[in-house]
Amino acid sequence: MAMIFMREDRQMAGSEEKRGFWGGLREGLRKTREGLVRRLDRILSGKARLDFQTIEELEELLITADMGVGTVQRLIQKVDSTLRGGSGQGPDLIRSRVKEAIVEILQPREAPLEVDRARPFVIMVIGVNGVGKTTTIAKMGWMWKREGKRVMFVAADTFRAAAIEQLVAWGDRLGIEVVRQQHGADPSAVVFDALQAAKARSLDVVIVDTAGRLHTKTNLMDELKKIQRVAGRVQEGAPHEVLLILDATTGQNALSQAKLFHQALGVTGMAMTKLDGTAKGGILVALAWELGIPIRFVGVGEQMEALQVFRAREFADVLLGDEEG
């Protein structure tokens, strides 16, 4: 068994070197970017300033990237007012202003997750059904394991069929211990036992996988609150991170998800998965603008290294197609 893990690890590490840190995101966002760039160029070519038609087209362009009407309008207002002040308003300037405006919104949310400030550092992973919680957990686990940290997974999704088996399969593949009970067990009880063990053995990072649930179901939100309380009872300050996973394919509902999960649990970080499709990712700008929650990671592919620390400028560069940026 150990042989298998080592081989997989090597493969993963090799492919990571080849692709470079942001290469994955670039590649993942290429479709989005190609569309955006081509259209942005078309819109901006020969335009001296933001006239009505340009604004309309810019608005549509950004909306197609799921940025949301409200955010887009605010963004355009912002860009328009900065342009009015200056002179020499060529298309390049307009584009760089749009990008700067986006960076300005995203920058304050750029705050990588520091897992060294507690031991064990407990991360509770939450989100609606099917956003990629378990896969993200596997990717995070692999990342920290490579850094030499001792990681534990906790299978607190005791509801969905074979959710435990899914996490266990990842644990086996990555060589990470998975604490589990049977299907239908009380998730808080699973977390309680796991944290006791993790504390006794002084592990570095504990990642708790919870069942996906729609943010509108109050009873299920209460279950998460209970898990949170129980974690805090075993270890002061736990969970240190309540990490909300969002699916990049999701449209404006991501805002509602973030708001309601935040209201119930006090979300401390967000990660966006599946940024490797087409025309997506804009909702992160809306999220950054409307909520003060740090964005920790973006997931840009199925490979293990396709989970990357969120960087505002790189994200904006890729979104608007400025590779040099």
Partner: protein, 444 residues
């Protein structure tokens, strides 16, 4: 942001009262609101554009019905057009052949496996013998998940050989189904990105090998603008036959439904509305239309008001109010108009964002109260109804006995009636009393 489109439109249209027809000028601003509402609901912008154009074409020049405001009239056109675009009656699954294979395809996390189980349960309830096939060999424990669901439902699940590839699994399961005498076979394929060429090719191979009766695209109702590309790619590669929309039990407005319909022209067959395995429903285009517009059942309300309210009577009432001729007989008429529209609580519930209205209404002022008022007035003589001043003590006692109420009830009614008259007189003077339009009593 645009949770309450209808409220916005109402406000907008208050300024537009008195127009006889819908014109470019009086619907422009409203169309803009509709456009924003659709975008907020995640309908693709190109689809929105086309939709707005077609609504405009249909609406322009339309005569505004007597009992409606231009706003309500336009909203009706918008709603009708949405319903028309999203559905053409009920669509039944093609279950001919032995077995009839149904192939579920879609992105990761859209809910294919859960939907497979729901579908199995749903079809079995219709008397079919059903089996499920796990053709997802990529996601860890995906096969195990379907097996567990099968055990829960007592539905047989094909067991793939170790390392068997999805195409082979799909082909072999056909014989397995025949041996077991199954009528329907549900193929649960692996989630994949629509731009993942090798995996899309794998699906095409499965389709060619199995010749499924239905290829159903499973889409998350929360999907954003990308729904168009997703649906287009899957449709181009696989010629999907229908769509299943999942996770509709959340608060997503579900504009993806319209986008998908627009680019594929395939029907939305079923919707997933919960985590339980029986939470699968037939798709209702009218409900979806209201949901996308974010306007509750305001359309039903408009229609009810339209049916219940007679314009001529309303005008007569307005005249009477101005001349202070409002009598108990008129009050009776009003009560009957309101009651014709259905239970009051239901009516209030139909108004989107009705929270404040519900709060403003006296909680006791419900259906029961209206019934009581009706009974009391009915126990009065014609003369008493026309001239309330003659109702003395002994008349009150008689009316109470006749209506099965108490003198206090009669007194309260008379007091309310007088207050109402006073208030109406004031409002009449301000000429803002809008009884002649739309909904009586609540119209502001």
């Amino acid at each position: 942001m645009f949770d309450n489109l209808s409220e916005k439109l109402q406000a907008l249209f208050k300024r537009l009262r008195g127009h006889g027809t819908l014109t470019e000028a009086n619907i422009q601003e409203a169309l803009r609101e509709v456009r924003l509402a659709l975008l907020e609901a995640d309908v693709h912008y190109k689809v929105v554009k086309e939709f707005i154009e077609s609504v405009k074409e249909k609406a322009l020049g339309q005569e505004v019905l007597q009992s409606l405001t231009p706003g309500q009239q336009l909203l009706k056109v918008v709603h009708q057009e949405l319903v028309r675009l999203m559905g053409e009656g009920e669509r039944r699954l093609n279950l001919s052949g032995s077995p009839a294979s149904l192939m579920l395809v879609g992105l990761q996390g859209s809910g294919k496996t859960t939907t497979a189980a729901k579908l199995a349960k749903w079809l079995r309830a219709q008397g079919k013998t059903v089996g499920m096939v796990p053709a997802d060999v990529y996601r860890p424990a995906a096969i195990e998940q379907l097996e567990q669901l099968g055990r829960m439902l007592n539905v047989p699940v094909y067991k793939p050989a170790q390392g068997e590839d999805p195409v082979s699994i799909s082909v072999k399961s056909q014989n397995w189904a025949r041996e077991k005498g199954l009528q329907v076979l549900i193929l649960d394929t692996a989630g994949r990105l629509h731009i993942d060429e090798p995996l899309m090719e794998e699906l095409r191979k499965i389709k060619v090998a199995v010749a499924p009766k239905e290829v159903l695209l499973v889409v998350d109702a929360m999907t954003g603008q990308d729904a168009v590309q997703i649906a287009q790619s899957f449709n181009e590669k696989l010629q999907i036959t229908g769509v299943i929309l999942t996770k509709l039990d959340g608060d997503a407005r579900g504009g993806a439904a319209l986008s998908i319909r627009a680019v594929t022209l395939r029907p939305i067959v079923l919707v997933g509305v919960g985590e339980k395995l029986d939470a699968l429903e037939v798709f209702y285009p009218d409900r979806m239309a209201s949901r996308i517009l974010g306007m509750g059942d305001v359309l039903t309300l408009i229609e009810k008001a339209q049916a219940a309210y007679d314009e001529k009577k309303a005008l007569e009432l307005e005249r009477k109010l101005r001349k202070e001729e409002f009598t108990l007989e008129d009050l009776l008429e009003q009560i009957r108009q309101v009651r014709k529209m259905g239970p009051l609580e239901d009516l209030v519930k139909m108004i989107p964002g009705a929270g404040n209205i519900r709060g403003a209404l006296d909680p006791t002022f419900g259906e029961k109260e209206l019934k009581k008022m009706e009974a009391i007035i009915c126990s009065m003589t014609k003369e008493e109804r026309r001239n309330h001043t003659i109702i003395n003590g002994s008349r009150r006692l008689r009316i109470a006995k006749g209506s099965g109420t108490t003198v206090q009830d009669v007194n309260r009614l008379l007091k309310n009636f007088l207050e109402m008259r006073k208030m109406m007189k004031k409002m009449g003077k301000m000429r803002r009393f809008a009884m002649g339009r739309g909904i009586p009593l609540w119209s502001r």
